[in-house]
Symmetry: C2
DNA sequence: AAGTGGTCTAGACCACTCG
DNA sequence: GAGTGGTCTAGACCACTTG
């Protein structure tokens, strides 16, 4: 048995953390600490199960989750190996500006341009599936990182889902935090479209860049887990200060072909 | 038992397609066909297992994979429900330009500007982890969709991994296809950075746009499953013709905190 | 032949939700 | 209390790789 495996503390049965998560964390720790290096095999499922006194299925569950993260990969008949692919944190995710900037190591701040209830535009009605006459809350902010203006963001939310937001929300705080804590709204998926464009006069003034400078135009619709759209965001970000960092992955095979009912 | 479930054909035990994939496809088919609508619960794991004559674990494996796709979500004690989040295909993935354009419904074509072995730049050496003196193959192409120039792409690959590519590759074909079929190289992950910028004189001429038009600058490094970098791409795409479409998801919880070895 | 990962079973207990 | 999803067990057989 691998010494690295055996020398770690015991698993705690019946704790609030499932066994497979403990095993997952244990392996992840060994990989991130360098005890298991890229290209090396990790102990086999059999071996781990025997050492830790758990079922093989439980171990496989842990290993499978690490495969999905990309930190290891399995080869039938050979073993499971540590991948050299890094587990970066700065890829684009459903993050509020606040979270995003903190993850990138900057201090976020916002200046509120406007915050009020409005009639939605046709685009927002469509995006948020609003009923006729339904109002929205609109929050327009300048986003700053370390006191440098980065972008202009205009968020729209259905008034219905956060009726007293106008009274209770301090717009300097993180909108996503308040949605989660006060209304139990957790945004888990967002669809985003980015375009490259040029700053118009207003954007140039607010972002303190020259008119005609390169900028990103974003449109984003964020959804809660049941697929209901909650937020529409339209924003303009400085091209000289902002980059889009993405990790792209291969589509999952086996799901594309034959969507008929077998 | 749900009629929709029972009325479908039997599963085939011992076929080359695992049972859990058959169940997964079966459910996906029912969702995509509208037999199961957003917001509705799918049959419980117990129920499906009993009807199909398989173990609950197998059913759960199928359901879990659908959760990861985002097409359903589970609530402990309540059930598993169809999400309204669409399973779109046009999100950014590790796709060759050829695949990407076909997925978007356009006809891809490429014009080769140059295709030769070269000494790599410092940036490419770093990106591809090249040894001192190691050469690369460089392929510079104009990418067209329906005969309209979309972008300029410059791919670099280590000569070592595809030594006879220069002789055998017809540069009008898909590079990714040839890498997979001839060399068994499958790119599964790519890290990409996009910036917003302005077209310089050369880019403007090649893309037939005005100098100073908005463009995307991309840099991409693609990896095979063991984490080895295989391809470095630097490209410039027209801002008026190209959009970045992303689906963003919430970070998986439970993996961020406490990366120590428990 | 031995070891590996991939799939599958037939149970079990728990935590949670709802009536 | 009944039904649900979440986790776990102790086996099993298969496909695959390597010596």
């Amino acid at each position: 048995m691998n010494i690295k495996m055996a020398s770690l503390p015991q698993l705690t049965h019946g704790s609030f953390i499932p066994l497979y998560r403990q095993i997952q964390q244990r392996l992840l720790g060994q990989i991130q600490s360098g005890a298991l290096k890229p290209g090396e095999p990790i102990p086999s499922a059999q071996e781990i199960a025997a050492t830790l006194g758990v079922s093989q299925m439980t171990v496989r569950q842990a290993i499978k989750s690490l495969c999905e993260l990309g930190v290891v990969y399995s080869r039938q008949g050979k073993g499971t190996f540590v991948s050299g692919i890094k587990l970066e944190k700065d890829f684009r995710q459903v993050l509020s500006f606040t979270e995003d900037m903190k993850a990138r190591g900057s201090t976020p701040r916002s200046r509120v341009l406007s915050f009020d209830a409005q009639q939605p535009s046709a685009e927002v009605i469509e995006a948020l599936h609003l009923r006729a006459g339904e109002k929205i809350i609109r929050l327009k902010r300048i986003r700053q990182a370390n006191s440098v203006p980065m972008g202009i963001e205009c968020s729209s939310l259905p008034l219905r889902v956060c009726p007293d937001l106008l009274d209770t929300f301090d717009p300097r705080n993180s909108l996503y935090e308040v949605l989660a804590e006060r209304y139990g709204i957790n945004l888990v998926v967002a669809d985003e479209v980015a375009e490259a464009g040029l700053a118009d006069a207003e954007a140039a003034r607010l972002l303190r860049i020259a008119e005609g400078s390169p900028v990103f135009f974003f449109k984003r619709i964020s959804y809660v887990q049941n697929g209901q759209p909650i937020e529409h965001v339209q924003s303009t970000y400085r091209g000289d200060r902002y980059k889009i960092v993405n990790r792209l992955t291969r589509p999952n095979v086996g799901l594309l072909g034959s969507p008929q009912s077998m």
